[in-house]
């Protein structure tokens, strides 16, 4: 283990190792299924069928994937700067407040295509604001961003419960939620996309925020790899010392990165609120902020990896719901286990199989591993 991080060919680094990690995570998940007395292969078949079996199922899969693209991008942007934003959950929750304020104020007299951009701004602004305080404290006062963002998740939950129970709830209603938005604040469904392929979608909530998510994935790619700011963010993440030496302001980069991250997490609120429920309910985020961590780790913080990873989690969410009908012993909480295993194997244990694979590559063709070139390069 003297040179643990020697170079592997690119396809092994970005393709083979993540896939092996993922497979191990799913094998362990399969063991859990076995433990509760069901057949993991049959469970997997039901799950895939539940996610892709009909037009409606596909639409649901993509609907869930939309949430995870937003939160996955949020975590990934922060990762590039060497920051771990665990606060996606809280930022998305508060982002929902931004959506609510815009929609409740304007849904009487504006069409959806005017409200939508304002709601995007509202959700992004509040999400960014909720990330600003931890970012400021990290940059200026050196408090650890992981701890502060965790604390802000809890504070966000308290704030939203207070607002929904005591402020936003319409008079005379018992349920802690806002009033229903008028149709002009509801996003158009995107069923037509699937119906073009001859699939029946019925009432699935897939809506145009899916397109917004894809646009954001592209913009994140542009930001990180094609702009000066992105270069500075990556430099800061790779080596804060080098960044400081190059005259990059640490405070500025940390705050800007976290605000972008928070804004992306905040935008996630558009999908369930304007696209599906048409009102703000308690706990509408349902853990999507945390799924973003698994998605970002699996997608290696690259939009081209995050979108498929988000769709995979969409498959697990939608397929898991169907699975719960078929096998009552396996509820949707199975996803939480899989999510944890993916985070464990693709994140914390990502280098577990690397030495073995390196040995394998070295024995097949020593040059491909670049043993001589990598001397002294290990960080």
């Amino acid at each position: 283990m003297s040179t643990p991080y020697t170079k592997l060919p690119g396809w092994a680094d970005y393709g083979l190792i993540p896939i092996i990690n993922l497979i191990v995570a799913f094998i362990v998940a399969g063991l859990v299924v076995l433990l509760v007395g069901e057949n993991p292969l049959h469970a997997a078949a039901v799950l895939v069928d539940g996610a892709f079996g009909s037009g409606q199922n596909i639409a649901y899969t993509l609907f869930y994937a939309t949430n995870f693209i937003f939160t996955g991008l949020a975590v990934a942007v922060a990762f590039h700067c060497g920051l771990f934003n665990i606060g996606g959950e809280g930022q998305a929750y508060i982002g929902g407040l931004g959506v609510a304020l815009v929609c409740l104020a304007l849904d009487g007299f504006m069409p959806w295509w005017l409200i939508f951009p304002l709601a995007i701004l509202g959700s992004a602004a509040l999400g960014a604001l909720w990330a600003l305080i931890p970012a400021y404290l990290q940059a200026k006062r050196g408090s650890h961003i992981v701890i502060t963002t965790i604390m802000f998740n809890f504070i966000a939950a308290s704030v939203m419960v207070y607002l929904l129970v005591d402020v936003l709830k319409p008079a005379g209603s018992m349920a802690p939620q806002t009033r229903d938005f008028l149709p002009s604040a509801q996003l158009p469904k995107m069923g037509w996309l699937l119906e073009m392929f001859g699939l029946s979608v019925r009432s699935a909530p897939l809506n145009i925020s899916f397109l917004l998510a894809l646009v954001m994935a592209f913009l994140v790619w542009v930001l990180i790899w094609r702009t000066k700011l992105g270069y500075e963010i990556r430099t800061m993440g790779f080596s804060p010392k080098a960044a400081r030496y190059a005259g990059i302001s640490e405070t500025r980069i940390i705050i800007i990165t976290m605000m972008i991250s928070g804004a992306l997490a905040g935008m996630m609120a558009l999908n369930p609120i304007m696209g599906d429920q048409h009102r703000v309910q308690l706990d509408f985020v349902t853990g999507a902020g945390f799924v973003g961590i698994a998605v970002a780790l699996m997608g290696r913080s690259h939009p081209a990896g995050i979108v498929p990873a988000a769709i995979l989690f969409g498959v697990l969410y939608q397929g898991g719901a169907e699975l719960a009908f078929e096998m009552p012993a396996i509820s949707r909480d199975m996803i939480v286990i899989i999510q944890g295993l993916v985070i464990l194997f693709a994140g914390a244990l990502e280098h577990m199989f690397r030495p073995a694979i390196q040995t394998l590559f070295a024995s097949i063709s020593p040059r491909s591993v670049g043993v001589t070139a990598a001397k002294g390069e290990g960080v």
């Binding site: 408090s143 701890i147 308290s158 207070y162």
Partner: protein
Amino acid sequence: MDVLVQLIDATIRVSVPLLLACLAGLYSERAGIFDIGLEGKMLAGAFAGASAAAVTGSAWVGLGAAILTAVCFALVHGFASITHRGNQIVSGVAINFIAAGSTIILGQAWFKQGGRTPSLSGGGRFEAITLPGAEAVKDVPILGTIYSDILSGHSLLVYVAFLMVPFTWWVLFRTRFGLRLRAVGENPAAVDTAGISVAWLRYRAVICTGILTGIAGAYLSVAQNAGFVKDMTAGKGFIALAALIFAKWKPVPAMFACLLFGFLEAASIRFQGMAWPMIGKVPVQLMQALPYILTVILLAGFIGKAIPPRAGGVPYVKER
């Protein structure tokens, strides 16, 4: 007067899981292993404890199962962050999710009560202990009340938790193991140079963490409540983490921080919806969020500065 006694009594009861988890985190973090998986380990311990106690009818078997399970989870964390030098935060997050999901899935599969375990009674629970002489001194003003109503009448694990405070202090500051444990969290290279295995020392630290989170979990499901309900830790692991930072990684301040946060929780339940003179009605959510807000303010450096162990979160690489 009665209200005050009840409030203090409730404070002690809700502080105990915080205190155990907080001390658990203390061992790990002092050894340089950040642990945000306290919540998950506590939850797994609570589930294992309640399940074992329900099946065997013995609270002691439950306690053992809780400790064993939590130690296993702690070893996974150790395996990822010590042996494979993975990111400790990521590993902790993973453990929280695995625990949250598997307790529900297994609970439903084994007991078919919607994620609950069967209700415990009799020997399946740690019952309240009446301290000797508590009945006799009950009528003595003040001192008698303190002894019989506040100190007496808790379950065994409550006393264990509070005894762990001086014990932890003694281990950390008066034993060779403690000295080395603190050293490995500050400067692992120096410990390594002295010929002591950094990895083994850190593994022992995470095992201590596992044992204490296991006891914390068992307290929740086998002593304080009569069985496991899903997500019963409800963020206590994170409040414990907050208390640990609040106490600046020291055992005795940790106890006071946990009592403070426990008091806030007890008070928010006791005074829910009550109107205060001058301030009016305080939203219950504000009281619930107060531990987190206080921790953020502390972290911001406005109430003294919390400096974590220097090598915390950094995997130790011997050489390249």
